[in-house]
């Protein structure tokens, strides 16, 4: 068999294409309980279910925001949660034409014999979990593999292991009706320059697509969630036009046109930086037979969190901040963002955390 042709074939292709609709992108709201706890504690809010629910309701129910989103990635707990008025979040999304997605990996573990390189867990029982999530309304999934750059990394072992894990996850998802987002994140940590990031990204993406092809994954029914190609966090920054050129070139060299869209991760960039880079990519003149859009977590929520502070009376302010970022990124996918969402607390704040454990 050349690739997946089962009962979900047409649906996978349609959903993947829909997520790449120009003007729309993904809100990554799938922080695990532990990670969301870090966000909440940064604004002095207790990490209990009701607060986690309240934050997500604030986001999903922001008036006018959902029109800029084609999908939202959820953590398992959130998939089954409801608004305060009792409406399931998945219904809120469906009514607004937003596809619910679900994080299905079970975090990273270290690879023995390496210098702290990791592989991602989650394949055991994945088929059954995907079926369950599909029944609950999810239509796409996400699995994050992590690699890092140093003079000796990523090692061939780390590349092979992570690429293979992504491919296995991807085909299992497709067999169970979920569009797999393939996420091989190469961390921005390090003093390396943009050329090094480009070389490593090309090497990693070549390995990923080789693995996806070997595992008979239907490319038209997948999405890619890569890092943008940038200098390392300890290296001098470059202009958005440079990020755009290097990133598009990397994708031109590795991504077959059959893949409908790229949904970039923000990986520690500030909200504004991520938007400006995405905008530059969509203005860049060159062969781009796939949509270039966003799948941002921190880069969509940072100023919203800061405005909310966990207080009911701040909800309007917080929602206004969220709407602003959604609209800005929507414009960036069309290459028409004018930089007018650049004001506001937290918008230009770097969100980089060294050796970030998600």
């Amino acid at each position: 068999m050349s690739c997946y042709k089962g009962k979900y074939h047409d649906e996978l292709i349609a959903n993947a294409a829909y997520i790449g609709t120009p003007g729309k992108g993904i809100l990554a709201a799938d922080e695990s309980t532990g990670t969301i706890g870090k966000r909440l504690s940064s604004i002095n809010v207790e990490n209990v279910e009701s607060n986690r629910r309240a934050l997500r309701e604030l986001l999903f129910c922001t008036p006018g925001a959902l029109q800029y989103l084609s999908g939202v990635i959820l953590f398992e707990e959130t998939l089954y949660q409801k608004t305060a008025a009792g409406k399931p979040f998945v219904d809120v999304m469906k009514e607004a034409g937003v596809l619910p997605g679900i994080k299905v990996d079970k975090g990273t573990v270290e690879l023995a014999g390496t210098n702290g390189e990791t592989t991602t867990q989650g394949l055991d029982g994945l088929a059954q979990r995907c079926q369950k999530y599909y029944e609950a309304g999810a239509r796409f999934a996400k699995w994050r593999a992590v690699l890092k750059i140093s003079p000796t990394e990523p090692s061939q072992l780390a590349i092979n292991e992570n690429a293979n894990g992504l491919a296995r996850y991807a085909i299992i998802c497709q067999e169970n009706g979920l569009v797999p987002i393939v996420e091989p994140e190469i961390l921005v940590d390090g003093p390396h320059d943009i050329n090094k990031c480009a070389d490593v990204s090309e090497r990693v993406l070549a390995a990923c697509y080789k693995a996806l092809n070997d595992h008979h994954v239907l490319l038209e029914g997948t999405l890619l969630k890569p890092n943008m190609v940038t200098p390392g966090s300890e290296s001098k920054k470059v202009a958005p036009e440079v990020v755009a050129e290097y990133t598009v070139r990397t994708l031109q060299r590795t991504m077959p046109p059959a893949v409908p869209a790229v949904v970039f991760l923000s990986g520690g960039q500030s909200e504004e930086e991520a938007t400006l880079n995405l905008n530059a990519m969509n203005k860049f003149q060159g062969k781009k037979p796939w949509t270039l859009t966003f799948s941002f977590g921190r880069a969509l929520q940072q100023s919203t969190l800061k405005a909310w502070q966990g207080k009911e009376e701040n909800v309007d302010k917080a929602q206004a901040a969220f709407l602003k970022r959604c609209k800005a990124n929507s414009e960036a996918t069309l290459g028409v963002y004018k930089g007018d969402a650049g004001e506001g607390e937290g918008v230009s704040e770097s969100l980089h955390v060294k050796d970030y454990k998600y």
Binding site: S2, P151, K196, K210, R253, T254, K287
Partner: protein, 391 residues
């Protein structure tokens, strides 16, 4: 008299020049054994990109005229001519001198003998081509031999001394190269044969780029067999995944290569035939799933299709926009009627040249998606499949 197979050292670049051009390469071996990440830029990067773009220009394709002496002999024999250098020279003179050929042909692949030959009027073949705005290319592989440990399959030789041969060919005026390996569906293909074909192509491509030649990457999936179009599709997907992965591992710069795939069709002996639309659908799907947009041009081989069939299929593939130039690199499908019209007679040269121009123009239109098939001759519609064809 030119002796085609012996490398003449007087044509090699001076040692000092060669090292000067390649000095950036010699220091790369001094990098720490931890990972040497190569930046794709080499001495010829810009030129390679320019050459590839020129060959992949709209409305143009490649004339493959690199038949080895033995194969050219078969062509000459088919019109009752002896396989002598003079006859090969006469025939190639006819081809490169077609007036206005450069309007439809962007590159011509030559055999080594022809690269160093002159026309019967004493002008260098490469100079005639250059004046026609046609890039000279050169076949650099050394043919197929049996692959030990496989299921009676072949592998392609030619890596030994390839670097210096490429450098010499560049000196002589060649700007692109071609290496043809084959994959046989009735014989499997075995994983070993596919891997070997892909790895050989990747090594060749890397070496060619290092020496200024744009590599045409040609893993021909032979037409022989009773298999249907789905099976061809499956094998093609596998082959191209391997080819691109190994090229990436060999740090080949994709903006400076060209591809020469076979179209996705049923096997020659398959009872179910496919329409141009079906061939187009499967072939485009293959390209979309396997070819990164950085590759500037995809020049299809005809592999035994009739002249008209090859043109119709190409036309079907160009009915919509593609992220790469989708064109032709035809030998038999361009030369067949021309050869027969010539018949070895000087008085037929002009008429023969006109028929070549007709085919070149038809394929040019097909590249633009505008071919209508009006006025095609019966000769042009004849299939040219030869079972077990050895090139």
């Amino acid at each position: 008299m030119a002796s085609a197979t012996i490398l003449r050292t007087s044509f090699l670049p001076k040692r000092s020049e060669w090292f000067a051009a390649n000095s950036h390469q010699s220091t790369s071996h001094l990098q720490p054994t931890s990972v040497a990440f190569t930046v794709h830029a080499g001495a010829y990067s810009d030129e390679l990109i320019k050459t590839a773009k020129s060959v992949a220009s709209p409305g143009r394709g490649i004339l493959a005229m690199d038949e080895s002496n033995a194969t050219c002999g078969k062509r000459l024999a088919s019109i009752g001519l002896e396989n002598t250098e003079a006859n090969r020279q006469a025939y190639r003179t006819l081809l490169v001198s077609v007036p206005g050929l450069g309007q439809y042909i962007s590159g011509a692949i030559l055999f080594e003998e022809t690269l160093y030959q002159s026309t019967i009027d004493g002008k260098k073949m490469v100079d005639v081509l250059k004046e026609q705005n046609i890039m000279p290319g050169i076949k650099v592989d050394k043919g197929l031999v049996p692959l030990a440990g496989s299921n009676n399959e072949s592998w392609c030789q030619g890596l030994d001394g390839l670097a210096s041969r490429c450098a010499a060919y560049y000196e002589q005026g060649a700007r692109f190269a071609k290496w043809r390996t084959v994959v046989s569906i009735p014989n499997g293909p075995s994983a070993l044969a596919v891997k070997e074909a892909a790895w050989g192509l990747a090594r060749y491509a890397s070496i060619a780029q290092d020496n200024g030649l744009v590599p045409i990457v040609e893993p021909e999936i032979l037409l022989d067999g009773e298999h249907g179009i789905e099976r061809t599709f499956e094998v093609a997907l596998k082959v191209w995944a391997e080819v691109f992965f190994y090229m990436a591992e060999n740090n080949v710069m994709f903006e400076g290569i060209l591809l020469k795939p076979s179209m996705v069709t049923p096997g020659a002996e398959c009872k179910e035939r496919a329409t141009p639309e079906q061939v187009s659908e499967y072939t485009l799907k293959l390209l979309q799933r396997r070819i990164p947009p950085a590759v500037p041009g995809i020049m299809f081989l005809s592999g035994g299709q009739s002249e008209v069939e090859a043109t119709l299929n190409l036309n079907a593939m160009n009915q919509g926009a593609n992220p790469w130039h989708v064109s032709f690199s035809y030998a038999r499908a361009l030369q067949n009627t021309c050869l027969k019209t010539w018949g070895g007679r000087p008085e037929n040269v002009k008429a023969a040249q006109e028929t070549l121009l007709v085919r070149a123009k038809a394929n040019s239109l097909a590249q633009l998606g505008k071919y209508t098939g009006e006025g095609e001759s019966e000769e042009a519609k004849k299939g040219m499949f030869v079972k077990g064809y050895t090139y």
